[in-house]
Symmetry: D2
């Protein structure tokens, strides 16, 4: 899967409070970056998501896998890129983070999400109208 397959990207910059005693971004904060990127992507995919929520439909994360390749540090700029696939009832987000200065891969993530419809696992069909153009 090469870089051309990404369908969304978001640039950010490390904030010092995100770094820990080792002087690098704390591991959990990358998950914040990934979440923010997904939410911005979903925002772009259509305002319908707010409507969905009001109908009791909620996308939730069921599994996350992150490979830590290189660390980000204070002042680093980085770009979060993603593409997604429908795998059964799941929408799976493939999310990578690159450091801007040298284009090195820092984080390789895979985030499985499922759709909860009024408290029950759905087949995810509610999201297809919003996401099919990205699949």
């Amino acid at each position: 899967m090469n870089e051309n397959n990404y369908c969304f990207e978001l640039e950010m910059k490390v904030r010092d409070y995100e770094c820990d005693m080792q002087g690098i971004v704390n591991n959990a904060n990358y998950q914040h970056y990934l979440e923010h990127t997904r939410h911005e992507f979903l925002q772009q995919a259509g305002t319908g998501f707010t409507d969905l929520r009001e109908k009791g439909i909620e996308p939730v994360v069921s599994r996350i896998e992150i490979d830590y390749k290189n660390s980000l540090r204070s002042q680093d700029r980085f770009t979060c890129k993603l593409f997604l696939r429908k795998e059964g009832v799941k929408f799976v987000f493939y999310q990578d983070i690159y450091r801007n200065s040298d284009n090195k891969l820092c984080i390789k993530g895979r985030v499985e999400t499922v759709c909860i419809n009024n408290g029950r696992l759905s087949r995810g069909d509610e999201l297809v109208p919003y996401l099919e153009k990205y699949l």
Copy 2:
């Protein structure tokens, strides 16, 4: 105001992810400690708070003052102590944090809260039944 006036205290331990590049707890995290201590105090003061919220009554922070006296570090145990006063329509929480190892004062905080009743500032009388025994 001496230590005997505190009406609630909570012991915690620094978690490494709360420390920043300087190897000390990040300034904003003390505010988390203060919030958690207030919420635990309110929990002890009576389960009525959940009821209050369901009636549309919400306590909110209107102002915070924190003096940073000494830093906490990885592995430090500390104790958050508080007392409160009603000052006009406000409930004011005086919240101090002491390092356990030497009983040094680390944080001296003052947190003003007001009560919002269905979207409007109230005189705070709704909370008096729960808090008067601590005033």
Copy 3:
């Protein structure tokens, strides 16, 4: 003190993980916004700060005051503005946060910082060359 006195500003957008159960940005996170804005300002003020740190000179926050005026919510864009004054040995940052959509003041902050030189409180003269043009 009117808006024209600000010497630095930084635009950001609320990230969903910064919001709490009440659906608004958690109080402590505003302190993160203020810290990030100060650090970006200091970055602009001169790369000399890294040099200073290597000489054992460290600016630290000694006191913070925040008035919470209006809440930020998911998707809100906001602008952090600051000006600063030297008051005795302290550099005091006056930091306000405005919501972009209606230019409403959300946060009014005042952050006192002192300079530690090899473990001892300094008169702050080390920072004057970097900051005097903003005073």
Copy 4:
């Protein structure tokens, strides 16, 4: 692998600021819980770790997998349990989080760590003396 195999456990309680707009603990915060549990475990395993760091030996996370089974909410108490295995050069921590009220599994985590010795990947033998009794 049944529960009897855990070699360390730590009880915690949800803090309200860890919950997000959905009223449940934000996904990234579970990673904080897992990290804090590992660090407390390592603290128990021997003070030698500080010595190791001074010799330039640093354990780092290379990969994390988390299955989100059930959500934690405000006021929930929970217990983080772990066991570990040496798999090649990696120490792999198997970390699960259970809700105390009903003993339900909330989080199933697997965290791969490697050892960096003066900037280079090591075979992990430096940690064996500290961890072998837990393997």
